[in-house]
């Protein structure tokens, strides 16, 4: 195991940021820690790096107990959301820093820095200062700097969080390719589910300081284990129990896993609901259909343009809603 954390707990004042969290990450994987802001995901990452001390629990890095090892000796690469580049140093000096403080011989530093700058496609920028670079370039420098001392693991804290969406997308594809070349175990924190599902081998979903689910992107998308994961990963309709199931159940249906028909399909008696077409939105690859159910609840359905023209749906029409796939969770009643 490259990274293993066991029963990690961290409290800030009255706020329990991380609550008894354990997981393991295999060598060479690219893993996303996904959760909403305030879920404790960054704290977990910072505890692994040694930037934060856990109240209890253990951290293991490449099989060795690291809980009490100071940051400097953990040999982890860390990439910060706001780059944290040394502003008074050139790109070259930034990347060389981790090697210089380790007293690596000069010729070795020279070749390693050149190699890394080539890797992050910034060879021509070595004499520039961070203030002369774009956000995406800065984050690539930060990545090269973190990789320079050949860390055991690479930790990235919302690495694309400060970038605009186009650069974000480019950079995350690039990170995936880079990872496939380098094979350094990487753990990155994000609140963006699309980013997590697209880039990673494995996703750790965190909410309120606890782990909700760990699995491959496909697993957590197809088979979410908790209501939180279901609604956090991808768009979902939340339907109160009395429509599809018993009264203490809630049904989660993804908008593209619903079909619309004019008649009640055969053999689907209990799983069909009448609804009124309120609005058709043609923006994007799919058509978004807003429906109003008999009890006033709303439901969104995504139809392919082909299916829409088959139906020749018009706003104001009455249709039947039949979910192709749905998830039912029993609600926890707290009085």
């Amino acid at each position: 195991m490259a990274i293993k954390i066991q029963n990690i707990t961290k409290q800030f004042g009255d706020f329990r940021a991380v609550d008894d969290v354990s997981f393991e990450i295999e060598h060479g994987q690219l893993v996303a820690v996904l959760g909403p802001s305030g879920s404790g995901k960054s704290t977990i990452l910072r505890i692994i790096a040694g930037l934060e001390t856990p109240d209890s629990g253990e951290v293991f890095l490449t099989g060795e107990e690291a809980t009490d090892i100071p940051i400097q000796e953990r040999n982890v690469g860390f990439v910060f959301q706001h780059y944290a580049l040394f502003k008074h140093m050139t790109v070259w000096d930034n990347v060389a820093f981790g090697l210089e403080v380790r007293k690596v011989p000069k010729e070795k530093i020279q070749s390693r820095v050149d190699e890394l700058l080539k890797l992050v496609q910034l060879s021509g920028y070595s004499r520039r200062y961070p203030s002369q670079l774009s956000g995406g370039q800065r984050q690539r420098v930060a990545l090269a700097r973190a990789l320079a001392p050949e860390p055991k693991v690479l930790l990235l804290d919302e690495p694309f969080g400060a970038l605009d969406s186009k650069v974000r997308e480019e950079l995350r594809e690039w990170l995936r390719r880079l990872h496939d070349e380098m094979h350094v175990t990487s753990l990155f924190v994000t609140h963006d589910q699309e980013e997590a599902l697209e880039v990673s081998d494995k996703v750790v979903i965190v909410n309120k300081g606890k782990i909700e689910q760990i699995g491959s992107p496909q697993e957590v998308y197809k088979h979410p284990k908790t209501p939180f994961v279901t609604s956090f990963i991808g768009p979902v309709n939340v339907v109160p129990g009395r429509l599809f199931g018993s009264h203490d159940e809630t049904t989660y249906v993804r908008p593209h896993e619903i079909d619309l028909t004019y008649d009640v399909p055969e053999g689907k008696g209990g799983k069909v609901l009448p609804a009124l077409v309120r609005r058709l939105n043609h923006v994007g690859a799919n058509v978004k259909v807003d429906l109003e159910l008999a009890d006033g609840n709303t439901l969104q359905v995504h139809l392919t343009p082909e299916r829409l023209s088959e139906l020749s749906l018009v706003e104001g029409e009455q249709v039947f809603v039949s979910p192709k796939e749905m998830k039912v969770f029993t609600e926890d009643y707290t009085i």
Binding site: A49, I71, F78, F80, A84, F86, G98, R102, Q132
Partner: protein, 282 residues
């Protein structure tokens, strides 16, 4: 473009702008430029030929030496402790921090004469530290230790006040990055922290130096102003005026003012150059 903007304002706005600019120019002019030109004029009108002779008088020489020594020592002490204070105030939270923060500005608020008097009371025969000079074997009052204490006190806030906002702004990210890259605290301080705050620090040191050069009241009270023993440049100016030795007074004053100006301009120039380097490259 600037003119166009000025006149695109309404008549009233333009008038207000002219009035405001005039007020600023007059204010700065009367307070800063006028006294300085008067000083230059006074020196030029008097016997310029003997200026050199005046400045080579042993008591003038001594006074400048003492002033420079005190100012440099004050810079060293206030830089060292100022850095620590600024660091603690920005990075740590403790009860009474706000109170302490207010206390730092005290030297700006209290008259230097009062400061001198307080030191006098502290180190006088019946003061709390009255027997300290017996302990360390050198006199404190009417000697350099009390003069240094007075100078350090009046110039205390500058480094702290210049460094604190810079520390606040850079935050802890760069330090943390340095640690994750394997640097220890010593390396992080010298290679990451100090270079990032160096302009604020240098500014604070310059102001400390300039303020120390000009200190009069507190030093006057504790030093006794003994010629060629505890007489600094400002005390010399005072004595010259008292004794109607105007040429000597003017000359020393002009050199003191010139010194402060040069330092301020130098620092401004260096800062501009650095900013250019960081944004436009080589």
């Amino acid at each position: 473009m600037a003119e166009k903007k000025l006149f695109s304002f309404s008549e009233k706005g333009a008038k207000l702008r002219v009035v405001l600019i005039s007020v600023v120019v007059l204010y700065i002019g009367v307070l800063v430029v006028a006294p300085l030109s008067a000083l230059v004029r006074a020196v030029l009108l008097s016997d310029v030929g003997s200026l050199g002779k005046v400045l080579l008088q042993p008591d003038v020489f001594y006074a400048f030496g003492l002033t420079l020594a005190l100012a440099l020592a004050a810079v060293v002490l206030n830089t060292f402790f100022g850095l620590i204070v600024a660091w603690v105030m920005v990075r740590h939270h403790f009860p009474g921090k706000k109170f302490l923060n207010g206390l730092i500005d005290l030297p700006f608020a209290v008259s230097p004469v009062v400061v001198g008097y307080v030191l006098f009371l502290l180190f006088g025969r019946d003061g709390w530290f009255g027997s300290l000079d017996n302990w360390i074997g050198i006199p404190i009052l009417f000697s350099w230790p009390s003069m240094l204490a007075a100078t350090v006190f009046v110039s205390l806030p500058f480094v702290i006040r210049e460094v604190m906002p810079v520390l606040q702004e850079i935050g802890t990210d760069q330090d943390q990055a340095s640690y994750t890259l394997g640097a220890n605290q010593w390396q992080t301080f010298w290679r990451v922290l100090l270079p990032s705050i160096r302009w604020g620090l240098l500014y604070g040191m310059t102001l400390t130096f300039a303020r120390s050069l000009g200190e009069f009241g507190a030093v006057f009270v504790v030093s006794g102003a003994i010629t060629q023993q505890t007489e600094t440049a400002t005390l010399f100016i005072y004595r010259s005026v008292e004794e109607r030795e105007y040429l000597a007074g003017y000359s020393v004053a002009l050199i003191l003012a010139g010194l402060s100006f040069c330092i301020l301009f130098l620092i401004e120039y260096l800062k501009k150059k650095e900013e250019k380097r960081l944004t436009h490259g080589h």
